[in-house]
Amino acid sequence: MAFIPHTEEEIQSMLSTIKVDSINDLFDEIPDNLRCQSLDGIRSGMSERDVSKMMQQRAHQDGLPSCFVGAGAYDHYIPAAIWDIVTRGEFYSAYTPYQAEASQGTLQVVYEFQTMIAALTAMDVANASLYDGASGLAEAVLMSVRANRKAKSKKVLIPDTVSPVYRQVVHSIVHNQGIEVESIKYDPAKGSIDTENALPTAEKFAALVIPMPNFFGQLEEVHKLTDWAHQQGALVIALVNPTALGLFEAPGNWGEAGADIVVGEGQPLGIPLASGGPYFGFMACKMGIVRQLPGRLIGRTNDLDGKKGFALTLQAREQHIRRSKATSNICTNQGLMATASTIYMALMGKAGIKQVAQQCYFNTNKVKQELAALDGVDVLFSDAHFHEVVLRLAVDVDVFLDEMATKNTIAGFNLSQAYPELEQTLMICVTENRSEEEIAQYLGDFKTVLEKLGQGQKA
């Protein structure tokens, strides 16, 4: 497909038609203090070669640390074939072309992606992907309120065990739409929802979000919570880690009737760690509420000659047809990332994803047991966990992390920042991508730094 930029003449003619002097004037509602005025670190007129060298040098300043932090993004091994295939010319575009007559290959990949996500989550239908897991959860909250008019409530319950970042994003997106988010406290002993005592009883609500595993890596009582929400006339939004689905029950099979909407961050499926992304969100639902699902949907159909083909479907949900009444203002997908994850899932298969999940569990558990034996380390919460382990340290967590960073290690996530009541807690995660050598080095450094800082404290 050709992408032809506008000529200077065309731009001037368009600007004069709408009576604007320059393109910048179109953005004058963005306040000055939010604008990046200049790139001080880059002198003007640099050649491509110079810029490229400078950027490489700066990227290398990060070093190549061993990563023992999860907290929502996971360092998994990405087989070389994936990005080799994704960067082929047929796929590598900033734009996902949807015209059925010109884009059968792209549409088929997206259709395969949807099929795999539906299979992984045990749901009826999945969309073509969203921007990321956090905005995906916000879309799921909006969808649940639309799909559950019977509840006559715009309240959605989100436990405090959902990632604090996700809860902030949900707040930003839904609070001006009249939707009320109510939190559910977690049991400080277990790190998960106390289903006996903590569930609200009084008012109606449209949906309950169930994270699995939750932000602390703990396993919520998904069957019990699902049935409870359904008994209250609410929908269930499952917020899941896709790797974890290799080991645990898929949301479509939770409780008597299964979750109604499933959403999650797709990064663990073949997308490299990068601050700020691009990542992608996945979203699936029961067929009965598909007309409330946001985002693009590709369907399989037959053309006039009876040949199999692929096309956008159920477009009346979308902005270009329904305008302000669309299910969402998302009318695209995170195409390249979804393509990478489709290849990842195809390459790994059901057995491969299960092996990754098992190895992550094994590594994290092994490190947990070794660290638990150290003086100055306590393991919090219950034994049933995946990916994350929460530790209480006898020393200051930030100082500990800085000290570990000098040993080229990202040693964990300072959990006390997001949960002040969990004082001096460090959350760690050990994926399958950490070698035995890296793990041994980590355990050794952990002990050394802990002892060094501990002695400092006593003195």
Partner: protein, 131 residues
């Protein structure tokens, strides 16, 4: 010219209204509306028991060409739905005035019926629309 039965009443937004013996009214969309929209693929009806003001949106008809809102022509409560449309939305195309009815309302203000169009007035408004 599409069919505009004399015994019915109409709105400018192309709904038809029939008063029933028990005082309720049955509502659907006109033959002209279904012709303009094309083949129906999905009808989103209001919930039973919901109350609407006259001209308030209460549902959606989705065709292969477009999705359009259905408006409650009168103030009242939804007392019956044409549940067959769930599996057979094409009834709105094949028989808009009978089997393709959408829902029934119990009126809160029966004098609003006077605001509706007669068949003649509706036909006039269609002609004006075309001009």
């Amino acid at each position: 010219m599409s069919q505009i039965p004399h015994e019915l009443m109409y709105t400018k937004s192309h709904e038809w209204i029939r008063t029933e013996d028990d005082g309720s009214v049955t509502i659907g969309i006109t033959e002209h509306a279904q012709e303009a929209l094309g083949d129906m693929v999905f009808i989103e009806l209001p919930d039973l028991g919901n109350e609407y003001d006259a001209t308030e949106e209460c549902g959606v008809v989705e065709s292969v060409k477009a999705a359009s809102d259905i408006y409650a022509p009168l103030t009242g409560e939804i007392v019956a739905l044409n549940e067959e449309l769930e599996d057979a939305p094409e009834l709105v195309n094949s028989d808009p005035y009978n089997d393709g009815w959408l829902f029934r309302m119990q009126l809160a203000a029966p004098d609003e019926l006077e605001n509706l169009l007669s068949a003649e007035d509706y036909e006039k408004s269609l002609n004006e629309e075309e001009e």
